[in-house]
Amino acid sequence: MTAPNALSTDLLGAIGGVPRPESDVVVDARDVNKWFGRLHVLKDVCLQVKRQETVVVIGPSGSGKTTFIRCVNHLEKIQSGRIFVNGHLIGYREGGGGTKLVEDKEKNIARQRQEIGMVFQRFNLFPHMTALENIIEAPIHVRGMGHDEAMVMGRALLERVGLAAKENVYPNQLSGGQQQRIAIARALAMKPALMLFDEPTSALDPEMIGEVLEVMKELAREGMTMIVVSHEMGFAREVANRVVMMDDGVVVEEGTPDQVFSSPTQDRTKAFLSKIL
């Protein structure tokens, strides 16, 4: 095992520095509504994330927080509202004179997703590819990066998440923590302007949570813009610029970690925090 202090330094150096988002407000979600059939899962959700900000979304399960960040890269459709990333409307174009949302062309959606990295609860590494192949796959086949250049970048990323020795190893031979660190490296390799984390430590054994959070903390320190859905309150307190509390599809409360954790104003926030802290 790699010593924890060997982990994660200068992560963004491996991809040529902090990717520059085009606008100061990286994510701008306005009045987002989503239904699963008759179930109203997102109710007029509004959220802004500024450049280099880390926003942690908390809330009970079923509160819509995972659904919300899946909408940000259009893995889920929305029924009304607008989500802008870097000033571009995500997944849709305006139709019917600005009154209707029309789903965008697949190619455009794919291009938008290149700017948005996502890390999943269950890692979703490609099992038929080695660690390094997982990382260089999209840079080569989506971005059109040269093979050699991608290898150099991929190795640098692996080294900086502390897994240089694992480049030729297949995911099924890696621990959950190692897989998740590679999944983060894979997302970073696309040089995204925004990173989404969907409960990245929820599927991990307790002893592996630390190594993944360490990588995420380093990313935040280096100035990556991130939205993190997480139950890790320690991480939120230490790293988040803002904490957003969601319940029942609604943003209940948002503020600095101190405000939300130490003096929550809403009863639902208090009730939730009393259960998990």
């Binding site: 893995l75 794919a110 997703r113 948005i116 590494l125 490609f126 989506v142 997302a187």
Partner: protein, 302 residues
Amino acid sequence: MGRHIRGIRPALLAGCLLLLPLILEGCTARRTAPYTYDWNQGFWTPLFHPDNLILFGLWLTVFIAVVSQFFGVVLGVFGALGKMAKAWPIRLIANVYIWFFRGTPLLVQIMLVYYGLLVTKIYPWPDLYIPILGFTIVSEIQAGIVALSVNEGAYMTEIVRAGILSIDPGQMEAAKSLGMTYGQAMRRIVLPQAARVIVPPLGNEFNNMLKTTSLLVILGGVPELYFTFSNKATQNFHPFEFFLACAVWYLLLTTIWSIIQGRIERRLAKGTAAGAAAAERGGFRERLLGLRGAGSSGLGGH
């Protein structure tokens, strides 16, 4: 001891089969037999000194099977994607295709494709010269390949679809989140993984295909293995010996195929727990000769 008996011993079976002529000779010798076996001309010669007709038949059988299976897989991939398409007209076309070709006898399809299109002049099957291969494919063989391909495609559709559905949807999501289009994600992420699931049933399909080519005898102009032996058997009035030899040739083909299939499966298994286990278990030769506990997975196993 029990372990050894349980395992199927393909080598032993092959031995028994080759001794069959002698055993049958013994059984019938005492009767006043109207039939005289001619094992030399009818069995041993076609096996160990096959003439050019047999060799050509072998080659044609393999050629038709490989080409038809190839197009069958291609059609199967498109069929599966069609069946899962968002647009209903595409789904309808895929469903009708499968419904028709799985619901009618292959023999009928062969006749329909050849005589049907020929007589109506919808497609009169002109001889086709293939520059890359350097030879001409006559009309009956073309029609045969087309009929076998579309029939196989219908079956492969379900196999490919099951393979794709077996892959965790998270794989498609991860690929999309990296900016891949649906097509890229299918080609580079989902289908390679689905291939692992598809290869074992695909192997069975090809095993069937090798044998099903014999149905093309109905067209009269496809001198594949069965056609050749069937001619010899009737000309010489020794159907038993000739068809037995014919069976051995088919067995040889399917046996060689099962060896190749095993290799392919092991190669595709990389990155899976099953892959590591298969590498441990050892090669086909060991299993064939029963050098290790072969378990219940015998030769072919179809």
